[in-house]
Amino acid sequence: MTNTIADIETADVILITGSNTTENHPVLSSVVKRAVAFKGAKLIVVDPRRIKITEFSDHWLRQNLGTDVAWINGMMHVILNENLHDTAFIDARTEGFAEMKATVEKYTPEFVESITGIPARELVAAAKLFASAKAGSILYCMGITQHITGTDNVKSLANLAMLTGNLGIAGGGVNPLRGQNNVQGACDMGGLPNVLTGYQPVTNADAIQKMEKAWGVTGLPTEVGLTVTKMIPKAHDGEFKSLYIIGENPLVSDPDLNHAEKSIKNLEFLVVQDIFMTETARVADVVLPSRCFAEKEGTFSNTERRVQRVREAVKPPGDVKYDWEITCEIATRMGFPMSYGSSEEIMREIAAVTPSYGGISYDRIEHEGLHWPCPTADHPGTPILHGQQFTRGKGMFHAIEWLPPSEHADEDYPMYLTTGRVLYQYHTGTMTMKTEGLNERSPESFVEISDKDAQANGLANGDMVNVASRRGDITARVKVSSMAVNGTVFIPFHFAEAAANKLTNAQLDPVSGIPEFKVCAVKVSKAA
């Protein structure tokens, strides 16, 4: 997030898109709901499903799946047309405005309606409302990123924020909500193929040199590596030999699971390090048991870039180790000694080699976490990004055309499928499914379908239904729901027995490598 969670409560207008906030970020959704209920904030929700948070919204725009760039361009078209853009901000802080303006020219509300299905009148009203905000906050999640145009979608939201001067101010910002507790930290710590810690590019000779010196090595690789979504197909073709998987369960969370499973089984050597025997661990050659969060000292970085302490509350079961301990042991046995006395010692090394974490220490975050960038020991941290200027100097407008999703409903697969999560389960369920009460509330997978679609297909609530895509098929129970919109079904991806990801499409965003989880074509039929 460019801004903080608490900051959302000071916004005049909040725009939520592609985030089922009340189910996936419940406590943050309360901040939004309080802003609307008690602070007079207006809420715009753009989402294909009638999710709970729409009950609090002034405008709910229901877009066709995979048409986000079109409605965002449309909003910008309206704002420019009505002269509601922030000229001072644009002049002082941005570049590329003219090109962007030329591109959105043709995205008239009527043209946008023809693509997105959002009535022109509603788009105009929402755009005017957003532009009228002194502080407008944009919140988004996987519903924006998990498309082949995910990167374009994100850039488009940044365009909208810059056009209305909503960056670098309290109550504004472009705020991605991180789905998993330490996604932010995994990225910050260089768990990405193109960057070292603190987003230092692997192609930057200075950064590489600094790391080589700090670690006492030579010849660190300088070519950008492979994303997980590229490693898997290579394994399928036999070009990729080994994977070391730490605390992830791609055999439930990956797209096009049938293909992913074949690929992973095709590896020469697979090591899985986890707290449970997951679907992925089952196909490993070696499984290494690790501590869970309640047994660890360390830090997580939350969605607002706040580095917070994790503390050991209980002793681990049996003979299990810290994840870092295991990795260090392997390194040492491979002839590269790595050893640390504590997590705190590792944090000191992180601070030494990572400019944005330079001022983070356990002492300083004992009572309250700090927001990075926090370069020095006396720096107070940075709750709001881009206050004076952007990282790259000027903010860049991107001229972006809408591109359709990679798969369309057709005669054979006449409905759309979109995937996501439910309140009571988490990710692939390895943790939440150990709590009986959560399973009682959400026991199994389901296919959420509108009343009209259910009737058209001769389905009733509770029927077992077969859902098939070009890649696979699953059977699950029908849930007729007012949350569903005609023509689109929703299936949560938590449940391995009816894994939604057997159906999903592994087509990737060319830049981010994110698969198009949020759109694919399916057919539904009553299970025999």
Partner: protein, 377 residues
């Protein structure tokens, strides 16, 4: 702060800011005024009146939690009048419902009948499940009152136990309304409210349905807000008493909000989770996963030993054997097929320190940049 504008509390003079309540000024200066219904972050309702204080020239006692300070106000927080009023409020509260802890008093002739009746209602012969962690009990001790002054009133509504997380014991409810505020003003789930009138008053979900069939999302905010034993976690009830646990502050391991929480530990097991009060970013709030989804920690299914697959079956192995095998295979693959045929998936679930080590290992030892995690998924 404008030091010219002052209030006198118990003879001491304090400055205040416009709009502050008597309670706020008093608390800032460490003067303890008891409260029951007052909930931080919600609009004061003045429902319980336990916080009443004597204000010079006021006709009645004033609730400190909802009375704004004015210049030259003179306030007494523990005057005989105040104490008398508080005692009466407490006695009334204690005589209604199954408050079968020590403050019930033991001199009354009906003691046996009362305890037996409560045991029947509770389906347990233990004392109240929150005995030792109850604001009403604290105040009964503080003001040395018991529940015997007034005759006990009958319990009107049976306990609700039909959901997996929360037991609602209407008999112990003091109608303070904190749960209603927690639900409607803090979490804004709008699941519960006051229902019925007068002596029939009860906290209900819409249509007086059980929570499991209502809009309730089991965030547990109401349980954390309840000052007495009317809302209790099902798993904790009678099994865990607060003095048996140590509390360790940490960060939630589910979503990216990063709520601060307290793990309550008894015999090396996490037995309950509560939100860390007054701390960013969640100020004590949690969701159902963070509050109730902790059973995986102590799960029987946890992996406890390294496993090596042989002929399609896993067998337990020592760390030495497993680590040597892994190191050996990684080395062979790196040296025969090249570093770029290898990859690491680090995790959005493990700590920063562990991600850092995984990233160092991939780059410095495997000598490849093929590292990623499942954030995109």
């Amino acid at each position: 702060m404008d030091t010219k504008r002052t209030i006198t509390i118990n003879g001491n003079v304090f400055p205040f800011e416009t709009g502050e309540t008597i309670l706020e000024v008093a608390r800032r200066h460490c003067i303890d005024i008891p409260t029951l219904c007052h909930l931080k972050g919600a609009a004061p309702t003045g429902a319980c009146r336990i916080c009443v204080v004597e204000v010079e020239n006021a006709r009645t006692l004033m609730p400190a939690c909802s009375t704004p300070v004015v210049h030259q106000m003179i306030v007494l927080t523990e005057s005989p009048k105040v104490v008398e009023a508080r005692k009466l409020i407490l006695q009334l509260m204690l005589s209604s419902g199954n408050h079968n802890c020590a403050v019930r008093g033991s001199d009354g002739k009906d003691w046996t009948r009362f305890q037996l009746q409560v045991a029947k209602d509770d389906n347990s012969d233990e004392l109240c499940p929150v005995w030792g962690d109850c604001r009403l009990q604290d105040l009964a001790y503080r003001y040395q009152v018991s529940g015997e002054k007034f005759s006990a009133t009958e319990t009107r509504y049976p306990m609700e136990t039909v959901n997996p997380f929360i037991v609602r014991d209407f008999s112990r409810c003091i109608q303070c309304g904190r749960c209603v505020q927690a639900c409607n003003e803090i979490q804004v789930n709008n699941a519960i409210n006051f229902g019925y009138r007068g002596p029939d008053s009860k906290i209900i979900a819409a249509g007086d349905r059980p929570l499991k069939d209502s809009d309730c999302v089991f965030c547990g905010e109401c349980v954390q807000a309840c000052p007495v034993g009317a809302l209790v976690e099902k798993d904790v009830r009678y099994k865990v008493r607060p003095w048996e646990t140590t509390k360790v502050r940490t960060t939630c391991s589910y979503c990216g909000v990063g709520c601060q929480l307290l793990l309550h530990v008894k015999d090396n097991r996490v037995v309950s989770v509560t939100g860390m009060p007054d701390a960013v970013p969640n100020y004590g709030s949690l969701c159902v996963k963070g509050r109730f989804g902790y059973h995986f920690i102590n799960s029987e299914e946890r992996l406890t030993s390294p496993l090596i697959k042989e002929n399609g079956e896993f067998r337990e192995a020592s760390w030495d054997e497993a680590l040597d095998l892994v190191a050996d295979r990684f080395k062979t693959i790196r040296d025969t097929h090249g570093p770029d045929t290898m990859g690491v998936l680090t995790s959005a679930r493990v700590t920063n320190e562990e991600n850092y080590i995984a990233h160092k290992f991939t780059r410095a030892v495997l000598k490849t940049n093929n590292i990623d995690h499942c954030a995109r998924l």
